[in-house]
Amino acid sequence: MPSNSAKNNPRTKLYLITGFLGAGKTTFIKQFLRLFPAQRVELIINEFGKEGVDGTLLRTYGAMMSEINGGSIFCACRLDQFEKVLSESAARYPDVIIVEASGLSDPTGVRRLFCQTDRFPHIDYQGAVCLMDAVRFPKLYKTARTCTKQLASSDIAVINRVDLATAEQLEETVSLLRGQRPDMRFLETTYGQIPDDFLAFFSQVQNTSEDTMPKTADLTLRRLTVSISPEMTPYELQKFIEMFAEETFRVKGLIQTTEGLMLADCVGNVVSVTPYNDAPASKEAVGCLTILSGAGMPVYSSVKKAAAWYPSAVLSVSYE
């Protein structure tokens, strides 16, 4: 049965926790739980073979835990198992749901799910935290594409284990983060510890999520322009952007497609291509995608490679 508070205001806040295997997600969650005293919290865990969250701690905070069967933890396309557990959790109308994404799988699908507001109408998605291990991150970032995808899907970064990292490791971790997500707020910590006002980070995320493209000059930003032919279908446009989205922090453009004028918009790596019914500001504004990325991201070569998949539809790629 829902609690009294849930009955009166049956909305559940949901937080997504990402980060590679061993980045300290469990330790972080133990700290994070303390920020919700006297609230009904549910935890959804999607990982096997790791130290579990302490049962006593869960009881202390009145939290319930669900696990997701992991036979298909690799599969971004098997979100149904996650949705099933989430629906069960949501049906109990907790105040808060915390989802720990599998460390090895691509969280893009989970992130995308919460952009579809009709799927879980009484859930308020608050944002995603990406845990980064300051010691291992520079190496993992080069070998595991998941790390890039996890950062792309997140809103706040927590660089963990800074006490164990050398100055060079920490500097490189920050520089990689800044390179991919210059827009992202981050904090450095040990043992997953977070300040008491950590939840305020999320309200800032929500306030900025509707921002338009940054207009101020920033020397660390790279701005690419891609010219698109009206022969492209909306599906092709979507798949084209997905090929490099994770290396950008913003993609936007009004594109004439085979099915009419579309607004292509991508923050992090969640790509949306939707019909645009207003009149465009100018004719020049139509047909160009603007791509913003941080320093050090190989976005130009990635966009060129993606363009090779759509040779007749992508007309040109150039730096502004």
């Binding site: 036979g71 149904d80 460390g103 595991a144 594409r145 798949k239 997905e242 998949w309």
Partner: protein, 459 residues
Amino acid sequence: MKELLFQTFRHEETERAPWVPFAGVHAGSLKGYDAIEVLTDADKAFESLMEVNRLYRPDGQPVIFDLQIEAECLGCDLTWAKDCPPSVSGHPLDGSDEEPPVTPCNCKIPTKESGRIPFVLEVMRRMKEAVGDTTALYGLICGPFTLASHLRGNNLFTDMFDFEDETQSLFDFCNRVCMRMADYYIEAGMDVIAIVDPLISQISTAHFEQFMSAPYTELFSYIREKGVYSSFFVCGDATRNIEVMCQTNPDSISVDENVNLLAAKEICDKYNVVIGGNIPLTSIMLLGNQQDNMKFVVNLLDSIPVKKNFILAPGCDMPYEVPVNNAIGVAQAAIETDMVREMVKNYNPEEIDTSGVVIPDYASLEKPLIEVFTLDSAQCAACGYMMNAANHAAETFGDAIDLVEYKFIYKENVARCVKMGVQNLPSLYINGELKYRSIIPTRAALEQDIRDAIEQCKK
């Protein structure tokens, strides 16, 4: 038919695309067995796979879809679930990330007697004997990268950075495991050896080329020398790695819904590699209705102008709970495409205007109303049987009941199906209540239902 698939592997143009349902644990659901039963009990697995063969009429069919078979033999701990394959929860080569991974001795390579391999081989032999003349059988092997991650755990990704030689050595060991498994499965009669490596989508093209290009090239060449066909299965967004996968020279690759199949096919055609895919597992097969499945398949098939170098298949291992009617719908669309195209030409869920549909006031009916929703009872066999059952009842009860057939080939009936929430065809409703879905009722059962409804109307 098997020959159709072989023609495709030989890069010949065919009259239709071959169809290969990846029914792993889902096969068990057809006979009421859970994933554990169907992945450990040869009788239950065989019975379930035969049901897949009967219902889905495949040209090719995997025998056991479990990427943990080899890992289990090599000492990984498994956690079992009833609705999906087991997952690896303990990694025998796990340890400090400051120490390189240890390559196991070749003496550890699984034998025909290890773990569940005898079970797999038995099911393969029985399937070969039962349907091997008409259906191409796929033996599935966990690919070297995913197997290495099963063995080593999460350190594998830092190993690739810190200990390149030792990591390559571990991959090479895993590749030797794959070759040995291929020997066993080919000997058991498998026509196609599929190497399934989902984690390939998680590494960069550069790392694929550094660590995986050589092992995979060797592996596919080895399978080819043995005289059978090969396939390279990935899942997730493997778009960037499609080209380097083709360069390892498999006979085919198989991708899921994350990949733009048409664009990927152009890349594959360049290398003359067959591509298979990519019916969405969740949004269409699991959560869609039968019409969604038929429509998706017809559109996919129609988008491929030349019937060559393409295999119709789900994106990956089908979810356990895929409704049987959805997969039957896919099979029908694959095999009788022209007929199904005609059936679903008016079906477009986003554009259906249901405002003109008047739903009867079921609670106030004077006599029972039997509504039969069919694709078209003249064309679809199951629909014909359902309609016959209703017609027999109409003869028995005469004027005491009303009977109407709604054929899905007409636009207004599509709208009615949407408004009534009809999920499968054929379906039979009495007074607005779903009574029979796909299953044709016996005469006695339907007559009893009607007598009950007559009583209900009198009240």
